[in-house]
């Protein structure tokens, strides 16, 4: 085989792989990339679970620039991928513009609502899960001070913080809630060193339970909390196993389930508005062998009681994004 033939063969193979993507689902990750130890990684895990269970394959892309959003949606839609799942609120604007051009393709978007007949919008009631872990934090705290570390000061993270503060104050009206954000550039989502510094600062202010909703930055928060002998709370996925016996619980946001469900439904996916809440186990708190020894029985009983109330609709947790105010915390 001559060299030229080899090259031709290789490019033909490439063309084939691109063609084989037809009718497979596709997933578009946000700028953080699929290994952000948080939101995108959770979406990736959902896609991987689907691939492992069905033996199917899926197309994926990690974008590098906002200008690539519309490009990626269009290119996958034109290649025949269906459904196309995208993780992150920033996909909302480009999807709203593009969805109508591909009426036969189904789209699913997580964390944003796009009103189009071929789009499934999946949003999470993060405030409910955060409320529950906030209760656990305040009930477990011995100093009466609990804290929150967010990635970047954006409405979505305020929604987490607001739910957490409400839960903490519901459990103990005298509790002090400290809240800090990591930074103002995208690096804030992956800055464990800064996370560690903020944790130390909060410990010096008296906090003995810290909740991190900050992507990869949270790794530093959980590590420092474990080193300094206070408790921490993980986010998105179950992070209890990172420091067994030192992570109080994790606020579960089942992005993986949302992705898995969308991919499993395939091209027949039902569209419309999906809310993932405590009621349908889309959000919640994690209990496993790693933390059962540190969560008190009365703490657990009170938290389950609150979860049941939320589920039954008897307890409404204020949603920061509904009116951009928070009754329990000042930003």
């Amino acid at each position: 085989m001559t060299l030229a033939q080899k090259f031709l063969g290789a490019s033909a193979a490439l063309a084939l792989t691109a063609g084989a993507a037809a009718a497979d689902p596709a997933i578009l990750f946000d700028l953080g990339g699929k290994f952000d130890k948080s939101f995108n990684e959770s979406a990736y895990n959902g896609a991987e679970r689907w691939a492992a269970e069905t033996g199917g394959s899926y197309a994926e892309v990690e974008i590098q620039s906002d200008a690539q959003r519309e490009q990626a949606i269009r290119r996958f839609a034109e290649s025949g991928a269906n459904p196309i799942v995208m993780a992150g609120f920033s996909w909302g604007t480009p999807l709203a513009e593009v969805a109508a051009d591909y009426p036969d393709t189904k789209f699913a978007i997580i964390d944003m609502v796009v009103d189009a007949p071929n789009v499934r919008s999946v949003v999470f009631n993060e405030q409910e899960g955060s409320y529950l872990v906030g209760m656990m934090a305040a009930l477990t705290s011995e100093t009466g001070t609990v804290s929150f570390i967010g990635g970047m000061d954006i409405p979505l993270i305020r929604k987490f913080a607001c739910g957490y503060a409400q839960g903490a104050k519901a459990a103990n009206p005298d509790v002090t809630v400290i809240s800090n954000m990591t930074g103002t550039t995208p690096a804030a989502w992956n800055d464990p060193v800064k996370g560690s510094e903020l944790t130390l600062a909060q410990i010096s202010q008296g906090s003995d339970v810290v909740f991190a909703a900050a992507g990869g930055t949270g790794v530093g928060v959980l590590q420092t909390a474990a080193d300094e002998g206070i408790l921490s709370i993980g986010v998105d996925a179950n992070q209890n196993h990172l420091h067994p016996g030192k992570v109080l619980t994790s606020m579960m946001k089942r992005v993986d389930t949302a992705v898995y469900d969308a991919m499993s439904d395939g091209a027949d996916m039902e569209t419309g508005f999906n809310v993932m809440s405590v009621a349908n186990h889309g959000v919640g708190f994690a209990m496993d062998a790693n933390n059962e020894g540190i969560v008190g029985y009365d703490v657990l009983a009170a938290t389950y009681a609150a979860a049941a109330q939320i589920e039954a609709g008897e307890l409404a947790v204020h949603d920061y994004s509904s009116d951009e105010t928070c009754p329990a915390l000042d930003f």
Binding site: T17, I63, Q64, A67, E70, G92, D111, L156, T185
Partner: protein, 361 residues
């Protein structure tokens, strides 16, 4: 006398550097079990094989032309403006304010207004570090870097506060229709065939070309440009010749900041048509590599910006259609920067020796 002829300096060295970077990239791609030739073909066809690909390549290049020129003109006065990123972010703020709050009748006036606002905001952001350098001797590298973070914080503050549109996203609302710039798709639409379909390249590209011409004329055809270059060559000689260092530092940095700020009419007004967080996306830093590679000459900046536009769009195609991870695409882009910018002497010195040997022979 120069050791090498000018063409070797301007063309031969960058080309050899790019080839070296390409060879190393190919080895990296080979090491993860992908086919480098297929990857290269995909990059070339994806970025240059269609008007669509060109539309993206030119869009990215437009950003890099502005930030590259900003670095290049400051470099003529031997100042290192690392603050292009922050100046471009502030330019975006200027664009957003005039596009949202002034009811423009037509895109032509909106473009002029937005460009003026972008330049003004970018220049204002460069003015403080420039003043500190000129009057207090605070090093411009340090202050401009610090101002990038202040800019990011300021934009963060405004985009979750005063300027935020209703909803979860930290972004302004969409600019009104008359403020939208015509894209290449609108401009090159000849009946049946649509060129540049869906691509973000827009009329700003021509503004960028005009900016290249402006910088060239300013630096090499005006008295101010002569003063800037003299100051860059030797501050004490320039002072002796009656050139005020304060004036040159201030004026050069204001022009530099204005150029970086004007990038915003491309990405904010032309592409996104709203202001989002981190709108500049690192283009301010790419501008440093573009200027280095372009030898601080507007024409070189133009070519280097096109190369980086190609790398960005080609990289996007790789991300879409191969399993080459995103991190590796960044490695490939970084290799080009490394070879063309940092390792310049690695190619230059052997070449110079070669030319000397040839001359002796």
């Amino acid at each position: 006398m120069d050791v090498m002829p000018k063409w070797a300096d301007v063309i031969l060295i960058p080309v050899i550097s790019i080839i070296l970077a390409a060879i190393l990239s190919a080895l990296v791609i080979l090491a993860i079990g992908e086919n480098p030739w297929a990857a290269l073909k995909l990059m070339v066809s994806g970025a240059l094989g269609s008007t669509y690909g060109w539309g993206y390549t030119i869009y990215y290049a437009t950003n890099f032309i502005f930030t590259g020129l900003a670095v290049a003109i400051a470099a003529q006065a031997k100042m290192f403006n690392i603050g292009g990123e922050g100046q471009a972010l502030l330019g975006g703020l200027g664009v957003a304010i005039v596009c949202l709050y002034i009811p423009w009748p037509h895109w032509t006036v909106a473009l002029i207004g937005a460009a003026a606002a972008a330049a003004l905001f970018g220049a204002a952001w460069a003015a403080i570090p420039a003043f500190l350098q000129a009057k207090r001797g605070s090093h411009i590298v340090i202050t401009t870097i610090m101002f990038n973070f202040i800019a990011a914080a300021l934009l963060n503050f405004l985009l979750i506060g005063a300027l935020k549109a209703p909803g979860m996203e930290p972004a302004t609302s969409k600019f009104p229709e008359p403020a939208h710039l015509p894209s290449f798709q609108d401009m090159f639409n000849f009946g049946d065939t649509t060129f540049f379909r869906g691509a973000p390249a827009n009329v700003t590209f021509f503004v960028a070309l005009a900016a290249c011409l402006f910088v060239w004329a300013l630096v090499w055809r005006t008295r101010l440009g002569y003063e800037i270059r003299s100051f860059g060559e030797s501050e004490s000689a320039a002072k002796y010749a009656g050139i005020s260092p304060t004036k040159i530092i201030m004026v050069t940095m204001l022009i530099s900041g204005a150029l970086a700020g004007m990038m915003a009419i491309n990405n904010v007004q032309g592409e996104a048509e709203r202001l989002v967080l981190n709108a500049a996306e690192g283009a301010g830093f790419i501008g440093i590599a573009v200027a280095l590679m372009g030898r601080n000459h507007p024409f070189g900046v133009l070519l280097a910006a096109l190369l980086f536009g190609f790398l960005y769009q080609g990289g996007a195609e790789l991300a879409l259609w191969t399993s080459i991870p995103r991190e590796l695409i960044i490695v490939i882009q970084a290799l080009v920067i490394l070879f063309t910018g940092a390792l310049d002497n690695m190619v230059r010195m052997p070449l110079e020796r070669l030319f000397l040997a040839m001359r002796r022979a």
